[in-house]
Amino acid sequence: MKPVQSSVDTLEQQLGKSWTQLKTARGRAEIKREELRSALRGIDSEDTSVVVFGSLGRDEFTDASDIDWTLLVDGGADPMHLELTREIDNKVKELASKTVGREGLFGTIAFSHELVHQIGGEDDTNRNTTRRILLLLESRVVGRNEAYDRVITQILKRYVLEDDGFVKGTGKFHVLRFLLNDFARNWWTMAVDFAYKKRRRFGQGAAIRNIKLRFSRKLIYVSGLLSCFGCHMALDELKPTGVCPGIGSAPECVECLHRRLQRTPIEILADAFLYLPHMNETAKKIFDAYDGFLGILSDKDSRDRLEGLGSEKYENDEVFKAARELSHEFREGLNDLFFDQQSLMCELTKNYGVF
């Protein structure tokens, strides 16, 4: 359950800013999820959840956004599951402006077994890793949530219980290194896959993917880092329970992480800035840039232009250049945040983000 009070709104008020694109995108996402919930009622069960990802999961929905969805199954295999996906697909198409992505990640069935058991190792394919990480960092359930909550709890329990330093408190910092490493792995995979897709698709769609990598993909990673750092920094804003359960309390840690990760990436980032008021100027820089990015994606002409640009043209395109400039602001702000020496951020970044 999302908290009623938005930290982005609180930060916006505190800083005297007006991030209209963020607010509008959030409103659109809430409406679209409600439409989906209504259209898909009765399709899910205690063993199946319909889960949405991407901009709809992050509360960054624009009129041109696609709807990335998965039927998450945590129960016995049933041949009828395929029929369910067809039914969901038909309903979603009525509500979406575009079809789901090409990589086969969405618009299909995901089984809990792979997500829970195959963390690392050869069987943990790119697709499986991405599904798992996106499930943790940018997913929302539309409809019945039992299977969704069970799977997330099982995944998180593995990250917590199998991280000796975290559970036994033997490390210098109380940070979930196992989980953080998987977040980092996924971020670098996305970055590498950008080059892969650019080559495989002969540059088609490279401009928009480039800009998304600079903003929304990066933000997902940022929220993952902050969620892991939050355990050590006792960032109350990153702990919806308000009280750190402490070392050795695995069920409480899993519950706390679960609640924290239910917040959207942008909310988690706002939570951090509410805890670090000496970084108000950095917060303005980051959120202004992100609001600008959403403004570009929300503007039909700009988005169409970015989507139509090939790799050989986009570097000199005015819309792309404007978006890239914003992304530099965003990046500089993030560097200021993660290398802030007045808090523990710099120390944690060096230890967990570098060596």
Binding site: R150, L161, K168, G248, A250, E255
Partner: protein, 237 residues
């Protein structure tokens, strides 16, 4: 050793007399008399007068899991009369239509946490809504249901943490994917051990595992193993 017994329903379905005999024959002193179907309650109610329960140090009654709304008051009256003997009445919260009727049974009314098919009574949040309506009721922790709702046993942990002070009975069994009670598997034993230390040693454990008569002792042994906390797990949990 933990006080451990069986549900007559698990052993002999509606035939509580046969179930009771199977239990008594083995010197087991803890029993739950089951009237899981509404039509089983009246025969049980009448039969109680003629049952010799003198060998048993703990008796509870499992209320019907589905109750016809028009007959709810009569069902509650019957159960209330039975509870006068000091026996807890185990109740599935989703069977209730009118909570005010059930408040009459007071602390002898014992609310059980539900399996994943149900829409209420599965988690702390959902059970709190039930206890708000039945403030004096006690708690029957169904460890198999809790594991089915959440195999990581987090839900079980938080149920015991929140309602431990109300706990008077435990239901123990494997609950399979079809939500049927089954005999204990190694996976369920290992999972139950994770919360075993949160269950006080004096709380009666009622097995709901459907086992044949010749397997009763071995199933009790497995149940006791499941309720023995493992030191190596405790180190990290």
């Amino acid at each position: 050793m933990r006080p451990i017994g069986f549900s007559t329903g698990a052993l002999a379905f509606a035939d509580f007399r046969r179930g009771l005999k199977m239990i008594d024959k083995r010197g087991i002193r803890y029993v739950e008399l089951s009237a899981l179907r509404q039509e089983e309650l009246y025969p049980l109610f009448l039969g109680l007068e003629h049952l010799d329960l003198s060998n048993f140090s703990y008796v509870s009654i499992h209320a019907p899991s589905k109750i016809n709304q028009n007959e709810e008051e009569a069902v509650v009256e019957m159960l209330q009369a039975i509870s006068q003997r000091g026996w807890p009445i185990i109740l599935h919260p989703d069977a209730v239509h009118d909570f005010s009727l059930w408040r009459r049974i007071g602390k002898l009314l014992c609310v059980e946490n539900m399996d994943k098919r149900k829409s209420i009574g599965r988690t702390v949040k959902e059970l709190n809504q039930v206890f708000d309506k039945l403030p004096n009721a006690t708690f029957c922790f169904d460890i198999g249901h809790a594991r089915q709702v959440d195999p990581t046993m987090n839900v079980a942990h938080f149920l015991l943490k929140e309602f431990g002070r109300k706990l008077i009975q435990v239901h123990l069994s494997e609950v399979n994917t079809r939500s049927k009670h089954d005999s204990l598997s190694l996976a369920s034993i290992l999972a139950f051990q994770e919360v075993a230390e949160m269950i006080p040693d004096n709380i009666p454990i009622i097995l709901e595992t459907t086992v044949s008569e010749d397997k009763m002792e071995s199933e009790m042994g497995r149940a006791l193993e499941a309720l023995t906390a493992k030191p190596q797990l405790l180190a990290v949990v």
